[in-house]
């Protein structure tokens, strides 16, 4: 289902056309239960508390992301207009690469997938948009894409595929995840992720068997690396900001100091539960697989034993020995369940837990403040 997406670079690079898969479809994975469990040694990697490795530690081409205020406003506005409900909204980021910094200077939204718009050509839209933007001197280099998320549930197969195709074509591309619900709680939540090189390797080979993953030593924390973001505004925009502050009469609402937490916690926990359910199903599958494998081993062993026994018997009786049958044909090894989904689910659960912990720590702080306030009363 690899469909084209557009990657445009000025000058030298050839155009690659591979379409992004639609946001809410998952590639079908046959989850049949068997696994060939080979025992390997695995060096334990320390499980850090962060969802992803900070980019500075790896040898990646992008160490920092610089976003213009305009992009932030556009993303916020796009979600506000189109994204009510749990639909994700997506768009394309434009910018340029300066040394080890990725500067994002503009963006444009992508229309949502509608069923009745079957002949809508995404590639066409993208090409036209970028062509038009080129006329008004907006950077037309594709440097990534953005997506909104619902309570932090963005680690999915679709995202992985999209980001892989982007990163494959454009080395420095990132995906910006905008969390509108967290933003509405008081502070802008915008995170930039890239795939780790290890994961890129795996995706390239499309080999998701456990052996491959083991070889690459990938845990769920090593899937994405988070790149720090800074926001930079031009002088003119700063002037505008000063002006706006004077003229706008919107009061500061201080949502960040809001004490109510149960609603948010409830939803987060609900999502977490769903994911954990998925995970347990996956584990069950894996266990069945491993059980099957061991059973098969036993059967094989038994069969071999019986064979040898029979053969010795026959020899003692003077009959020709039965031919050795091909083991592999008789005992088909059970198929290993692909581990990519498990990785993704684990990553997602990790993300949820992270968010919940952040939320609770903030709320604890607020509660203590409220206590202090009440104490004076």
């Amino acid at each position: 289902m690899q469909s084209p997406f557009v990657s445009i670079r000025t000058g030298t690079r050839a155009h690659l056309y591979r379409k992004r898969p639609s946001p809410n479809t998952f590639l079908p994975f046959s989850a049949c239960g068997c696994f060939n469990m080979a025992s390997r040694k695995e060096s334990a990697t320390a499980s850090t508390a962060v969802m992803a490795i900070p980019a500075g530690t790896l040898d990646s081409p992008v160490n920092q992301i610089q976003i213009e205020g305009l992009v932030v406003l556009k993303i916020i506005k796009h979600y506000q207009e189109e994204g009510q409900g749990s639909e994700v909204v997506q768009g394309v980021l434009l910018g340029l690469v300066v040394e080890d910094r990725l500067e994002i200077t503009n963006c444009f939204p992508f229309p949502q997938h509608t069923e009745d718009d079957a002949d809508f050509d995404e590639v066409q839209y993208q090409m036209e948009m970028m062509r038009s933007l080129r006329h008004v001197n907006i950077d037309h280099l594709h440097v990534g894409w953005y997506q909104s998320t619902y309570y932090g549930s963005f680690v999915s197969r679709a995202l992985l595929d999209s980001q892989f195709s982007y990163q494959h074509a454009i080395e420095e591309s990132v995906v910006l995840i905008y969390d509108p619900i967290k933003t509405a709680q008081g502070s802008l939540s915008l995170k930039a992720y890239r795939l780790t090189p290890k994961l890129m390797e795996i995706c390239k080979e499309k080999d998701f068997t456990p052996e491959a993953l083991k070889k690459a030593n990938i845990g769920f924390e090593h899937m994405f690396e988070e790149v720090p973001i800074i926001i930079k505004n031009s002088h003119l925009i700063n002037v505008l900001m000063w002006d706006l502050e004077d003229k706008s009469t919107v009061a500061d609402k201080h949502e960040l100091l809001n004490l109510s937490s149960s609603n948010h916690l409830e939803k987060s926990l609900q999502l977490l539960m769903d994911r954990v359910d998925d995970m347990s199903q996956d584990i069950v599958k894996y266990n069945t697989y491993s059980r099957n494998v061991s059973k098969q081993q036993q059967q094989k062993h038994q069969y071999v034993q019986r064979r040898t026994q029979e053969n010795t018997q026959r020899q003692s009786r003077g009959e020709p020995a039965l031919p050795e049958e091909d083991m592999s044909k008789m005992f088909k090894p059970p198929q290993a369940p692909p581990r990519m989904d498990t990785l993704l689910i684990a990553g997602q659960i990790n993300n949820y837990c992270q968010n919940v912990k952040e939320f609770t720590s903030q709320n604890l702080g607020k509660l203590f403040m409220a206590e202090a306030l009440q104490g004076h009363n």
Binding site: L73, I76, T183, K232, I237, V239, M241, S361, E371
Partner: protein, 447 residues
């Protein structure tokens, strides 16, 4: 009331120039005669009276000549004079037709009391004189028969009358009236702008082609009965075909947005504006025109919106007048939070700001509240020590504030606090547990 006779006294520099008007052509302010001022004062509030007395500006000498030749009654002149300057701003520029060119521009600029006065006359046009193709229609300058009426007209901003309706303006007069009123918009819907539009305009201005002094684009948004909400925009560089294409593309994403007008950077409204506006009025009914002074001519970025109206003498020359509208800035909640973050970049010399996380955000927010409290306490101290006069409304707000802290018995509060804290701790524990679980699972699988 009495009519002042003859050309007025010598002009003298008016009072209360606004920095908006320090531009090319000199602005001459003329002071009205006392009688008229007083008469006007009777029908106005004291503030208005003093303002109109001190700031109605008319070059009545040449004006009188022009109108006399046009056989306009003095009454109309006076009301024309009075029709400006109630709340402090009026610019009435009258150009005779090219055949009737006066040596001095028959222009008058008014003063303004507030800094954001809408001001829409162009120096260049003043010099050259403009052919008026006017056709009077409704919603024009307030040309009312008497100063009383003028005051009433001013106050009830939705009842403009125009001279042609009363058949009093002779056809011989071909003026192009361009008037702007005070920042109380007089006609037209309120324009609500989102910050993303302004940032987009700034950005497109920064990226304009070499040699272009201003840049132009389309505004998209939604129209309501009494307001127009501008939510998006894109810049137009090449031609109108390009603009149409862009609009189509944008419509794919947000089908509810329609073209509601256009913007231009720069301070003035030029002749080109009229042409472009005409084009846009084909695309949208009653388009609005937004100007944003990115060159910061008046040391601030004056953002103004106008709606166009036709005016002139029916059957003869017709012109276009841009009347200003009230501009408001609206934000979605999340937008405001985003803008908040962006505001913080302007204080740092490097103009950059990282995104904070976790408790530091709460800390920052609390610090802001603390600052506000400190300011308040300082004010209260001042009031108590007599340095500042006490203000009742502020006192009431403070009372409100103090009462807002709920009085709960200590026990109840303890209970609430503890149960909340327990909830949060439990959730934290659960999430830590889950994380440990999946890590374990991973290790086991990969064994």
């Amino acid at each position: 009331y009495e009519v002042p006779d003859g050309p007025e006294e010598e002009p003298r520099d008016g009072v209360g120039h606004d920095e908006d008007e320090e531009r090319g052509a000199p602005v001459e302010v003329h002071q009205r005669g006392e009688d008229v001022g007083q008469v006007a004062a009777e029908s106005l509030t004291p503030a208005e009276a003093s303002l109109s007395f001190s700031c109605t500006t008319f070059f009545l000498g040449s004006l009188a000549w022009a109108f006399r030749s046009a056989n306009l009654a003095w009454k109309d002149l006076l009301t024309l004079a009075n029709s400006g300057g109630v709340d402090g701003v009026s610019v009435v520029t009258i150009w005779p037709s090219s055949s009737d060119r006066l040596k001095t521009p028959v222009a008058s600029a008014a003063t303004s009391t507030s800094s954001s006065s809408p001001f829409s006359s162009t120096g260049s046009e003043r010099e050259s004189g403009r052919e008026g193709n006017t056709e009077f229609s409704s919603a024009m300058a307030y040309i009312c028969p008497s100063p009383y009426r003028a005051a009433a007209c001013r106050r009830s901003a939705n009842r403009p009358l125009h001279a042609a309706q009363r058949g009093e303006v002779p056809e011989a007069l071909y003026p192009v009236l361009q008037s702007s009123f005070s920042n109380m918009s007089v006609y037209g819907p309120v324009v609500k702008i989102h910050p993303v539009v302004l940032a987009s305009i700034c950005d497109s201005y920064e990226r304009r082609n070499e040699g272009a002094s201003r840049c132009i684009g389309t505004l998209l948004g939604t129209v309501d009965k009494h307001s127009i909400e501008v939510t998006n925009c894109f810049s137009v560089a090449v031609d109108m075909e390009f603009a149409k294409n862009m609009y189509e593309l944008h419509k794919r994403v947000s089908p509810t947005e329609v073209i509601i007008g256009w913007y231009a950077t720069g301070f003035d409204i030029t002749e080109h504006s009229v042409l472009i506006h005409e084009y846009y009025s084909r695309e949208a009914t009653n388009p609005i025109h937004l100007t944003m002074d990115t060159a910061l001519q008046s040391s601030k970025m004056s953002i103004r919106a106008y709606v166009s109206a036709q005016m002139g003498v029916p059957g003869k020359t017709v012109g276009v007048m841009f009347t200003p509208l009230t501009v408001k800035y609206v934000y979605f909640d999340t937008e405001r939070i985003g803008v908040d973050l962006l505001q913080r970049t302007r204080v740092l010399p490097s103009r950059t700001k990282g995104l904070t996380s976790d408790l530091s955000q709460v800390g920052g927010s609390a610090a802001r509240v603390q600052d506000m409290l400190t300011t308040m306490l300082a004010y209260i101290d001042d009031v108590l020590s007599g340095k500042v006069a006490a203000d009742n409304s502020v006192g009431r707000f403070l009372m409100d504030l103090v009462n807002k802290v709920p009085t709960i018995s200590a026990e109840d509060f303890e209970n609430m606090l503890n149960s909340n804290i327990n909830d949060l701790l439990m959730v934290t524990y659960l999430s830590n547990l889950t994380q440990a679980q999946i890590a374990l699972n991973e290790k086991l699988v990969l064994l």
